[in-house]
């Protein structure tokens, strides 16, 4: 059946409303869309690394999660969910469980690109039947907007402040999606919540129902850290894709597919402009920063096209 957001939205929510994520935050939109890709009859064991998503959805004695949920620590959601999946395999083999259970780990970019990279890598290499989702908002937002290895160059964060001498973060972003591709997983995808969520939904479905370890890197803008107007969340997502700052692609058994090529690729400044974390790069004398970002964005996009044989 063709994807239809209206129909999908009729499914009961598996992440209840009433949680404490900020208005205009990308993460809950991403999570709800992913969970809608679960078959209604399937149970899920969901883990989250310490971070905004965890602390805002599971404050004792309340939980927003309809499925089983576990939070362990910051850097170990990969290992934690891999353990739950191992218990499932053993208990299923011993006839103690019935039906299908899916395993999903959520981590922010801090918990995934940085402190949790080893745990993620280990879980994926061991081949657990689980989906790891990085919701990438490009900084340690939960602790108050500190730079991570996912933070874009020149972004103003509280540990890479745009100062008088040093204009924000000095390094390019780590390319986590490519790191995960190099794990030779059966399914890796980079996606974002845009339009009617078709791309995110379909990738989630594939990732959840491909046997083995799968990974999705999902853009999840943060209104506090990126400093945009909260109602503009979906526009920001779209601009990230239309400028090719955040290309939508998937790698199925090693084969690259670029899912969306903008007819008119927008200049990256269109994505950066609405975010006050980049306001200093638009000041006179700082044009070189914008040029550098544009150049790097183009370079990475061209490289991706080449990988996809385009």
């Amino acid at each position: 059946m063709a994807y239809n957001l209206k129909e999908e939205a009729k499914k009961p929510e598996r992440l209840s409303g009433g949680h404490r994520m900020c208005a205009g935050c990308g993460a809950p939109v991403v999570v709800r869309t992913i969970l809608r890709a679960l078959k209604p009859e399937d149970h899920a064991v969901i883990g989250a690394a310490t971070g905004c998503l965890e602390v805002s959805t599971f404050l004792y004695p309340y939980t927003a999660w309809q499925d089983s949920f576990i939070h362990n620590a910051f850097e170990n959601v990969g290992a934690s969910i891999s353990g739950a999946e191992a218990a499932y395999a053993a208990m299923k083999r011993r006839g103690k469980l019935e039906g299908e259970t899916k395993f999903i780990a959520f981590g922010g970019d801090g918990g995934t690109y940085d402190i949790g990279l080893q745990s993620l890598s280990g879980a994926m290499e061991r081949g657990h039947d689980m989906l790891y989702v990085c919701y990438d908002n490009g900084a340690y937002m939960n602790t108050g907007i500190q730079r991570s290895s996912a933070t874009p160059k020149y972004a103003d964060t509280t540990t890479s402040p745009a100062g008088k001498k040093i204009p924000g973060k000095q390094q390019w972003r780590k390319d986590l999606t490519e790191i995960m591709v190099e794990h030779h997983l059966p399914y890796v995808a980079q996606t974002a919540a845009i339009g009617n969520m078709k791309d995110l939904h379909e990738k989630s479905e594939k990732a959840l129902y491909t046997k083995g370890p799968t990974f999705m890197n999902v853009l999840a803008p943060c209104p506090r850290g990126w400093q945009y107007n909260t109602p503009d969340l979906m526009d920001i997502n779209k601009l990230a894709v239309e400028t090719c700052f955040w290309p939508l692609y998937e790698v199925i058994d090693g084969k690259y597919v670029v899912n969306y090529k903008p007819k008119n690729k927008l200049p990256v400044k269109e994505f950066l402009k609405p975010q006050n974390r980049f306001k200093h790069i638009f000041k006179p004398g700082n044009e070189y920063m914008l040029e550098e970002i544009q150049e790097e964005t183009d370079k990475r996009w061209e490289h991706l096209l080449k990988l996809a044989g385009e």
Binding site: H43, V45, G47, E54, V55, F58, L59, Y60, P61, T63, W65, Q66, D67, S68, F69, I70, H71, N72, A73, E75, N76, G78, A79, S80, I81, S82, G83, A84, E85, A86, A87, Y88, A89, A90, M91, R93, R94, K96, L97, G99, T101, Q118, S119, S121, G122, A123, E125, R126
Partner: protein
């Protein structure tokens, strides 16, 4: 009929694990506990068990995976030593606060630095306040027996705490000794099926584990955890009693050796107790009234029982194979002095000996020296030095 075997301490642990056949074992190699996952993965490869063995990429992930597996509803075990236990530190506290009955075979080794692979107790002593039950083992037989009892204690509904079964690295982990094994079927009956009350994989009753827990409830949760540790003492005794009926081997919170008319005793953990027993026998032959107290259960700390037992003696040497770096004695010593004070026991003269750090050999002569010092104290009634180091060059 019990099975007579010859096994190293690590083999004994792995054999107990094989007989228990847990759902999940997640472990990472580190000397001297490496053999435990090695033996166990052989059992998995040969189909002797149908456990999921998770060969993780670090000890942090080993215990993290154990937390996931245990919360999911599986009986879960791991093994480690020294730096491996240190890397688990963060998750040790999480495992106990989540009330997960994970079993950890700790093969005691000196915690870095400096790097040293030999035995002392700095690893598990550092984890003494992490909320884990700690049971110490003098020899291979005790390591095996404690491992068989561990699941019963941990999984008791009034306890639900993780258990660390400790033994001395190399000294018992790699030394082959005679051992009596319990038949597989009897182990199965004794340990029983693990049927958790609530678990992640129960789709009929999904649960959420590991919340953000503010000051409105966190204190109550910690209080409940502390209560579980208190209750654990009774449960350990019940399980030990049941085990004794099964095997004829008696276990309590601590062992008393030749204490009935003793005037002086040493208090010592793990394998050194074996050496001390030999020395006690020698000195007894000379008519000296010496004895030994060997704590088995260090967490929960048997405050009442130890205070009562120690109150009968004139002088006591508490032996610590770990330095607290507090300038005030080793961890066993400070716990014992605190127990005596809180119970109003002021009779015995107490001294502390830090010994065997970094695997320094402790010989019968060393222990004999300690007993002679104690006997001298009983003669003079004077303690010249409370805090002492045994066998160090100064």
């Amino acid at each position: 009929m019990a099975i007579r075997e010859r096994l190293s301490g690590n083999e004994a642990i792995a054999t107990a694990m094989k007989q228990i056949n847990p759902d999940v074992v997640a472990a990472f190699p580190i000397t001297p506990s490496t053999e435990v996952p090695q033996y166990f993965s052989t059992f998995v490869a040969d189909g002797a068990v149908d456990t999921e063995f998770v060969a993780v990429e670090s000890e942090h992930s080993a215990l993290s995976a154990c937390v996931g597996a245990s919360a999911a509803g599986g009986r879960t075990m791991t093994a480690t030593s020294a730096n491996g236990l240190a890397l688990m530190w963060e998750v040790l506290y999480i495992a106990s606060s989540l009330r997960l009955p994970i079993i950890l075979a700790c093969v005691n080794r000196t915690l870095s630095g400096p790097l040293n692979i030999h035995n002392d107790h700095s690893d598990s002593m550092g984890a003494r306040d992490s909320g884990w039950i700690q049971i110490y083992s003098e020899n291979n037989q005790e390591a095996y027996d404690n491992m068989l009892m561990a699941s019963r204690i941990a999984e008791h509904p009034d306890v639900l705490l993780p258990v660390m079964v400790c033994q001395d690295g190399f000294i018992t982990s790699h030394a082959i000794e005679n051992i009596d094994l319990v038949e597989d079927s009897k182990v199965k009956d004794f340990v029983g099926e693990y049927v958790p009350d609530m678990y992640l994989l129960n789709k009929e009753n999904p649960i959420a584990v590991g919340p953000l827990d503010h000051f409105t409830h966190c204190f109550e949760h910690k209080r409940q955890q502390a209560e579980a540790m208190k209750i654990a003492k009774k449960v350990i005794l019940q399980v030990s009693e049941e085990f004794s009926r099964l095997t004829g081997r008696n276990y309590s919170l601590f062992e008393e050796y030749m204490t009935q008319d003793a005037e002086v005793v040493t208090v010592v953990l793990n394998s050194t107790a074996g050496t001390a027993k030999y020395v006690v026998d020698q000195l007894r032959a000379q008519g000296k009234k010496v004895g030994l107290i060997k704590p088995r259960v260090f967490r929960p700390f048997p405050v009442d029982e130890l205070a009562t037992a120690l109150s009968r003696f004139k002088a006591v040497a508490v032996m610590d194979k770990a330095e607290s770096f507090n300038a005030a004695g080793g961890p066993l010593y400070t716990d014992i002095t605190s127990a005596l004070y809180s119970k109003g026991v002021f009779g015995p003269k107490l001294v502390n000996y830090i010994y065997g750090l970094g695997g320094r050999d402790v010989k019968a002569d060393d222990i004999e020296f300690v007993y002679n010092q104690l006997l001298e104290i009983t003669g003079t009634g004077k303690v010249d030095s409370v805090f002492n180091y045994l066998g160090v060059r100064e």
